[in-house]
Chain length 395, copies 2
């Protein structure tokens, strides 16, 4: 059982770990060569400033990636803790070096919580930073089971989900999902440096989203790129090839006759389609559940649909998942949306209770189905009368 | 005075305009070749389905950019309205074509509201979509003043800010701030299409931000790129040059001796610095006001700082703008942050009322200054006693 944790480095990640595990009664010791950072973390409630008198159960080395090896060696030599982990975003080179350089490599487990934010430093920290996020561990065959289990316990207290990975596979994955995108955001932002006032004035939400992750701390990223250069270069090389395709096509466009332009643009449209597929791949992770279609009829009066969208949001159905359609027979407007099959019955029931004419759709026939669950009634009122009285009147 | 508006094309933008101007009592007529879209917009409260009996004061052509010219010509020929505008994101080519092809070009003003979202279609619409956003107009020397003034009125009802621009300068600006970034988001997302389950699992918030604007509607973007290809290509070519610099440097890194790696990486770090400067350029637009530094002392007890950050958020001061420091004399922890000069007095007062030891900083001396405004008192209580009783006790 984890009773004491030493956090070395009280930036965003270290302070957030301190806040998260302190909540559960773990005693946290905060160390940072910058006294202001350590005292700020303590004032937030992340723990006590200073090293413990006895070895902590676990030390988390949360210093910049280029310093992790040295700090791990020093803290293990002075016996700060019984087990050690780190939070650096590149793992293969570090894990390899630690196996030969640490006094006792079996008590070190490489770690990388997949969490962060735009802002760094202890003031940006929060206890919930890691909730439901993946936290990669890269143990080697000689890593002690006790060390791994202590880190598991800390991850659980942080509300994160442990993922065991080979360190090389981890580094390739983050090159694709984090390092290359950060660099790309920086390159796009660099283009804006010399933008005129008029140009900057036209910056919309999309530009802010795309450039938000531009690197603010080149020192940290110098460490990351040094440790993961070949994998990052691999992703960027493919990106440059695609960019070359786009440029060639845009250049061809000016020579193409007007009626051939759409055809000339095909290689770009193919890439845009690939992009839409990639976006679906990263956004669609949670939609693997079995789903049921639900339909709600809309009375032909202004405001009814806005009211329905509010009701759906309260049921965690977002407008972008709602598809409007006209019923072929009656010309009635209705809204269809997919919900997890296990929640469909409850959602239909709640909509009916709110006065909506809602039903789930039989996947075979595509028609509204006879409900297995009886709709709610008011005491003493017949079922039909209840529903009709609440269904919004049609024109 | 604007009394009737015809919206042709009830997607995200058209429906949002309908919702925004309807709020202010303008009668809106909704037209769309897709009956479901028009009826959905009407059910949301954006207006009435169908053309007006008499010409509307203003018609807004909110169809896909490739169709704007044709629809403008048709609607003006049948006399749908007295003035016309559109919302296409590329203006130079269209404006040039309209000057020669429209029955009466003087009653058309090119327009482009700088607003949008991830999702399209009427269900994604909202009345507040344009609030405080720029709305570019590209009138020509022959455009009638009445037409421009009617569009100004609509923009005001939408809560947006009109910006008059030359159509070519507009297209260059959006190539930089919108078209190139959207393409880049797509290219990054395309790289993820073949990502493994493990890789996709490591996708963090940053990746979602960067790829959120990946193109979901290649048809729309085919129109946009055809109309603005040279400007977009210009931005992407500079981006590719920077990417080539990054790739060359990353390749050099593997041959560099360990102590030379930081120096080898310099060209990349320079680009990252440029990116940080570009980010500051687009994010710093609102910080041109004169600012005053405020300092708040923190008692050395866990939780005090978290409580202060909550209080500051309520005063619209975000944690990322707060800088911790130690006072040199007493070793006390304090937090400093900049606020607009006009709000500083009120913020200090409210913090004091909440029991904090807060003060503004004299820019010349860097020290806390004597307040001009007297701090609040409870009736019957001397001033000193009040403040001391509420200031958190120090250890």
């Amino acid at each position: 059982m984890l009773r004491t944790v030493a956090v070395v480095g009280t930036g965003l990640i270290g302070t957030s770990i301190g806040l998260a595990v302190s909540r559960h009664g773990v005693t946290v010791h905060l160390l940072d060569q910058d006294e202001v950072a350590a005292r700020t973390a303590a004032a937030l409630g992340a723990g006590l400033v200073g090293a413990p008198d006895e070895p902590a159960d676990l030390a988390v080395i949360a210093v910049p990636p280029g310093a992790v090896g040295e700090v791990l060696g020093q803290t293990q030599a002075r016996g700060l803790a019984r087990s050690y982990t780190d939070v650096a975003s590149v793992k293969a080179q570090l894990t390899r070096e630690m196996l030969t350089s640490l006094p006792d490599p079996s008590h070190y487990v490489g770690g990388h919580p997949l969490a962060g934010g735009e802002h760094s430093g202890p003031l940006a920290a929060r206890a919930g930073l890691f909730e439901d996020r993946a936290w990669v561990l890269t143990p080697s065959p000689t890593t002690s089971r006790d060390a791994v289990n202590r880190v598991f316990e800390m991850i659980a207290l942080c509300g994160a989900v442990p993922v065991i990975m080979d360190s090389r596979a981890h580094d390739d994955a983050v090159a694709l999902t984090s390092h290359a995108p950060h660099l790309l955001a920086s390159l796009m932002a660099a283009r804006l440096r010399l933008g005129s006032q008029d140009e900057i004035r036209l910056a919309g939400q999309g530009l802010h989203d795309i450039t938000r992750m531009a690197v603010r701390d080149p020192g940290l990223w110098s460490d990351i790129l040094q440790a993961n250069a070949p994998a990052v270069a691999g992703v960027l090389r493919e990106l440059r090839d695609d960019l070359t395709t786009v440029l060639g096509t845009l250049d061809d466009l000016s020579d193409a006759p007007r009626d051939m332009r759409s055809r000339t643009l095909k290689p770009v449209v193919d890439l845009l389609d690939d992009g839409a597929a990639g976006l679906a791949a990263i956004q669609g992770r949670r939609s693997a559940d079995r789903e049921t279609q639900v339909e709600v009829l809309i009375a032909d009066r202004p405001g009814q649909l806005a009211r329905l969208l509010d009701a759906l949001r309260a049921l965690r159905v977002e407008p972008e998942d709602v598809v409007p359609r006209l019923s072929p027979q009656e010309g009635t407007l209705s809204m269809r949306f997919a919900v997890p099959a296990v929640r469909a019955g409850r959602i239909v029931l709640e909509l009916e209770q709110g006065g909506w004419d809602a039903d789930s759709i039989d996947p075979a026939s595509g028609a509204r189905r006879q409900r297995a669950v009886a709709p709610p009634r008011r005491t003493g009122e017949p079922h039909r009368g209840f529903r009709e009285s609440l269904v919004p009147a049609r024109k």
